[in-house]
């Protein structure tokens, strides 16, 4: 049974109320939406309650690109087909200029919508942002409170001394305080 309807459109509503109309194939890149559409329970506007419009725009851009690659990959001479290298470069370019706050929202959105490729890109971006940092920097970045006692922290540091060499941010806290 083939579906004769071509380019069925799907409407998505961001948390701040903006409605986006996209092709069904684009929406289906998001597994969460795909599942819904296949269940037939998405006849009206689909509320994407935790994603703001600017983020949703970026997500849709990503999905559109995925559709473009996959739709043309069946033809033999495919101008859009990418090598592994090109794919990587494209991903990097896509995430270029994404600031940390946008990155967080993108991660939450792609996790929620279950878009593995985008989640991977985001996770890799975050890894590159924080690798090589020191615990104090991390606490500042993620607003994490250090809930170790000085003794406990000392112990972790001593056990893994090789990883902590020359920590510029670390001064032994006095345990008496």
């Amino acid at each position: 049974m083939s579906e004769s309807t071509e380019k069925k459109m799907v409407r998505l509503r961001s948390s701040d109320g903006e409605v986006f109309e996209v092709e069904e194939s684009v929406a289906k890149v998001a597994k969460t939406l795909q599942d819904m559409l296949e269940e037939d329970c998405a006849d009206a506007v689909i509320p994407i309650t935790c994603v703001r419009a600017p983020i949703l725009t970026k997500v849709i851009d990503y999905c559109k690109d995925q559709v473009m690659i996959s739709s043309s990959s069946s033809t033999t001479n495919n101008p859009n087909e990418r090598t592994e290298q090109e794919r990587k470069a494209w991903g990097q370019k896509f995430m270029e200029g994404v600031d940390s706050s946008t990155l967080c929202e993108l991660l939450v959105a792609s996790n929620f919508l279950n878009i593995e490729g985008l989640l991977n890109l985001g996770v890799d971006k975050m890894v590159s942002m924080i690798q090589g940092k020191y615990p104090q920097e991390i606490r500042d970045m993620f607003n994490v409170v250090n809930d170790f006692t000085p003794e406990e922290e000392e112990e972790i540091r001593n056990q893994n001394a090789w990883a902590f060499e020359r920590d510029p941010y670390y001064k032994k806290r006095s345990s008496s305080k």
Binding site: K31, T32, D35, M36, E38, E39, D40, C41, A42, I46, P47, T49, D99, S100, S101, L103, C104, E105, L107, V108, N111, F112, L119, V123, D124, M126, V127, M129, I130, Q131, G132, K133, Y134, P135, I138, R139, M141, F142, N143, V144, V145, N146, D147, F148, E153, I156, R157, N160, W162, A163, F164, D167
Partner: protein
């Protein structure tokens, strides 16, 4: 540069931490206790991907409209204890709320959509591979609002090479939709992953079983136990065990042991070493485990059950007090129910007012796994189903999925 927003999404953070270079990863252990435990878990998940998989599903309410979301918590064996580790939530509910969550050998199932509407259907979820498979709705059987599914069950044996499953929906109905005539009894719809189709038929049951079940509350729930091609449900009123044989399509009912008439039963059926066990907690009567022994039922007064384990309620409650926090000790902690056992019936998991309690049946020792304070933090309400500790099921090769008739994924 603030990445604070991500701090609350442990599943994403977990993913990030797991991918960090070794040295950075180790260094970040000194960030905070939460980071340390996440990194530990990330490291062990890399090395022990094939370990036993056990966990709990919780319903979580959030937002102003009290939206519901089911989340899977993995039970991890950390050094010196057990801990619940958050796994990615598997259903997002502004779209559909999952109902009737059940499991079979490491695979979860749940219903979603609106009852009585075309879109109501069931999905299977494998928490290990994070695969979701949506069953096609069964249009041929027109559900009316009066016909909620009575019982649900999944038949899946991860030890079989073919990896196919069957999903069973039982209806207690007053109308025979197949023959369009009034009828009484049970109708069973079975979905087979082999054929990709639902099949509905009238179930066979003898008069005695019919009379017994007729008076029961027609909600068996999704907690069917699957064992050797049979599905078992424990019903509270009247206290009985309903057995459905997949091969013959017949139902049979057996009386369950019950201590006193007016006490509500809180029991769970479990299989261990080829036998069916029934475990219950009663406020007056303590904690009992019974083994099913069909031959015994032949004598007039005897139930087909033999009691194999017993602790009186005073001992149970004093043990529970031992794991309580000071504050709740004053209020007094309560058991809700037993949710699961491990494979060898040595460990029971209890839902209590205090949180999730791991109860070592043999050594009579209790440990608090998820305290209610920690559960409250994430807004968890009680009502979980539990996966038995079981190796993760292997999914069949993708070759079968090419033949698929509906757009859903085979396992």
């Amino acid at each position: 540069m603030s990445l604070e927003k991500i701090s609350h999404h442990e599943d994403i953070l977990f993913e990030v931490l797991a991918r960090l270079p070794k040295k950075t990863q180790t260094r970040f252990r000194a960030t905070s206790k939460k980071w340390e435990s996440l990194i530990k878990a990330a490291v062990s998940s890399k090395t022990a991907a094939k370990s036993l998989y056990s966990g709990f599903v919780w319903s979580r309410y959030y937002g102003e409209e009290n939206q519901k979301q089911q989340e899977f918590y993995r039970l991890t064996d950390t050094k010196g204890g057990f801990a619940l580790q958050h796994s990615r939530s598997f259903l997002f509910s502004s779209m559909s709320t999952a109902t009737d969550v059940g499991s079979c050998n490491g695979v979860l199932f749940y219903g979603h959509g609106v009852y009585g509407r075309k879109n109501y259907t069931y999905s299977l979820y494998n928490p290990f591979t994070k695969q979701i498979s949506i069953l096609p709705p069964h249009y041929d059987f027109k559900m009316s609002h009066y016909e909620y599914p009575t019982g649900l069950g999944l038949v899946f044996d991860p030890n079989c090479t073919h990896n196919h499953y069957k999903f069973v929906v039982v209806y207690w109905c007053n109308y025979d939709h197949l023959h369009k005539s009034p009828s009484h009894g049970l109708t069973v719809s079975i979905f087979s992953s082999k054929t990709g189709r639902w099949e509905t038929k009238q179930a066979k049951l003898d008069t005695a079983t019919y009379q017994y079940l007729e008076t029961s509350v027609h909600d068996w729930g999704a907690s069917a136990l699957h064992f050797k091609g049979n599905l078992y449900w424990a019903l509270p009123l009247p206290a009985c065990m309903v057995v459905f044989c997949m091969e013959t399509g017949t139902f049979e009912a057996f009386e369950l042991p019950h201590p006193s008439e007016d006490e509500m039963m809180m029991g769970v059926l479990w299989e261990s070493e080829g036998k069916i066990f029934y475990c219950q907690i009663c406020f007056g009567d303590g904690f009992c485990i019974w083994v099913f022994d069909e031959d015994r039922g032949n004598e007039d007064d005897d139930l087909p059950w033999r009691r194999t384990y017993y602790i009186d309620s005073d001992t149970m409650f004093s043990m529970l007090e031992g794991v309580c926090e000071e504050e709740s000790r004053k209020k007094g902690a309560f058991f809700y129910r037993v949710t699961s056992f491990n494979e060898h019936l040595q460990i029971a998991h209890l839902e209590t007012t205090e949180g999730l309690v791991r109860f070592d049946v043999a050594e009579k020792r209790m440990t608090l796994i998820g305290s209610s304070t920690c559960l409250k933090e994430v807004g968890i309400t009680y009502g979980g189903v539990v996966l038995p500790e079981y190796p993760a099921p292997v999914m069949p090769s993708s070759s079968s999925s090419k033949k698929r008739k509906f757009r859903y994924h085979y396992w």
